[in-house]
Every structure is written in structure tokens, then in C-alpha cells.
Symmetry: C2
Subunit: 127 residues, 2 copies
DNA sequence: ATCGCTGCAAAACATTTGCAGTTTG
DNA sequence: CAAACTGCAAATGTTTTGCAGCGAT
């Protein structure tokens, strides 16, 4: 719960390993699933090869870079999203959460791309 | 492009196979990726074991059942989402798309669950 | 002759599962 | 002791990749 950002099970594993060196990745997966089912964690964002989670606390949305897959919290100040009307039921469907992802290209990846166009020789560091 | 709904590469493979029996799953994956990069297709929804795509045409949002993973288009009439203000840039990030998923439990899964509570013997058919 | 597309098989990941042994209450 | 939790290794499922051959230009 104390990890910053939107960690994958692998990232959680690496962090927990520092405190409990004997822990296994399978145990992390099992517990992450338990916490998702219990609602302690929620899953974040598509466009990933691996699951990303965050504590299931205040509602907020995410910026997701479709190039490097980095996820950033969307600053509520700059929010382009009007508050979503909350209906409990839609099309016979019981609504539990609304997930909003703003997809696009982060500054680093944009820089990398334009530098690729102009000077394909040198590589900028990854996002 | 003519497939209904939000098919996975596997589902596309099964469909294309009827017209081109010799096609391989790898070829479908390669072409789906090409179409995603070109913008002909877009990726849909998290909460899946497999990628789901749809033609990258009119903006609309999705209902996603977190139990059975079924994806349904959200009827714009019943839309609980106010139109999203469009900003091109946010936090140094070039916005290309806003993805909204309404997550919850579909009618069939809800029925299945309550029947499980009251009469655990009989199984309703899958969503 | 070249370039792009294909199928196949293998590889690379991400995630889950079975099981036997430990820990907890 | 019973129930829950763990590590390990194997199984699963999805997606990517290398490569050799084929086809079209």
C-alpha cells in the first residue's frame, strides 16, 4: 500500500522482497488477487503487458502513454473531464466504478520521436 | 472490420479462418498490431486476459463486466458521462484519446451470484 | 531481384494452479 | 488440530519473434 504509483505484481514483489527476502512471486500474485477481490486494491489502465494496481481510495483518473506505457495520475486541477453522473444501473448492468484513461504520448516519448525524425543517430533515455 | 463487438485476436483468427483456411494465428497478431499502429483499429478495455479491439471510428464508451469480462457498447442515450472537454496537452502530455470504461456486474452474472447465494445447486449459463 | 507477407515452431512473458510443507490462531 | 498461507515448479494462456519460403511488383 505504501508503494508510489501504479506497480505491477513484479514491482511489488521486488519491493516486498527487501523486507521478506523469502517471499515468492506466486504469493504476491495470490495476495494481489485477494486484495483486488476484497476491494483494497483496484486495477488500473489497459495498454499494458502486465497488471497495474493502486490502493482503492480517492477516485482519480490517469494519463497513459501509449508508447512507453508509463502511467501518471491526472492532476484534478487540469482535469478535462467533467464529473461523471453516477447511475447505479445501466442497461441492466450494476455499475461499481467508472474508469477514465487519457491516452496519448508523454513528453519524453514525443521528444524521442521528433529526435528520431531529425537525428536518428542518438538515443534519448527511456521514459 | 466487419466483426461485431470487441473481438480478441483469437476470435478474429477463427472468423478469418472461414475465408482463408490457411491463415495462422501469428499472422493475425501481426496484422492486428499493424492496424493498431496505423490507427485503423483501437484497443478496448482493461480487465481482460486478452486484447480486445474495435474499428477506430465513432467515439463511444464501454460497459465491462468484471465477472465474466463481457464488453458492451454503452448506449449514448443512457450515457452517464458528460462530454469530455478536449485539451490537446495535459501535463506535458499529448492527448490522443480518452477512454471511458464503466465497470460493474452484468445482469447475467448478478443473477448467477444471487442464485448462488440462495440455491447453490444449479448453475446458470455463462454470460 | 527485391520487398513484404506468410506459416510454423519456438521463445518470451504474465498469470494461475497443485501440492506438500509451515505457520497461525 | 484446523484453516489459511507459503514456496516451488509446472501448467496455462497470450503475444512476439526468427526464419525460411512464397508472392507480387
Amino acid at each position: 500500500m505504501s508503494l508510489e504509483g501504479h506497480p505491477s505484481p513484479e514491482m511489488i514483489y521486488e519491493a516486498v522482497r527487501k523486507k521478506i527476502p523469502s517471499i515468492s512471486l506466486a504469493t504476491v500474485y495470490k495476495n494481489v488477487r485477494t486484495f483486488l477481490v476484497s476491494g483494497m486494491l483496484r486495477e488500473v489502465s489497459m495498454h499494458h503487458g502486465s497488471m497495474r494496481v493502486e490502493p482503492n481510495e480517492s477516485e482519480h483518473y490517469h494519463l497513459v502513454c501509449t508508447r512507453c506505457r508509463q502511467i501518471t495520475d491526472l492532476d484534478p486541477e487540469s482535469v478535462p473531464v467533467q464529473p461523471l453522473a453516477k447511475k447505479r444501473f445501466l442497461q441492466g448492468f450494476h455499475v461499481t466504478r467508472i474508469s477514465v484513461d487519457v491516452l496519448g504520448v508523454c513528453a519524453l516519448c514525443a521528444a524521442k520521436e521528433s529526435s528520431m525524425t531529425t537525428k536518428p543517430r542518438r538515443r534519448k533515455k527511456e521514459c
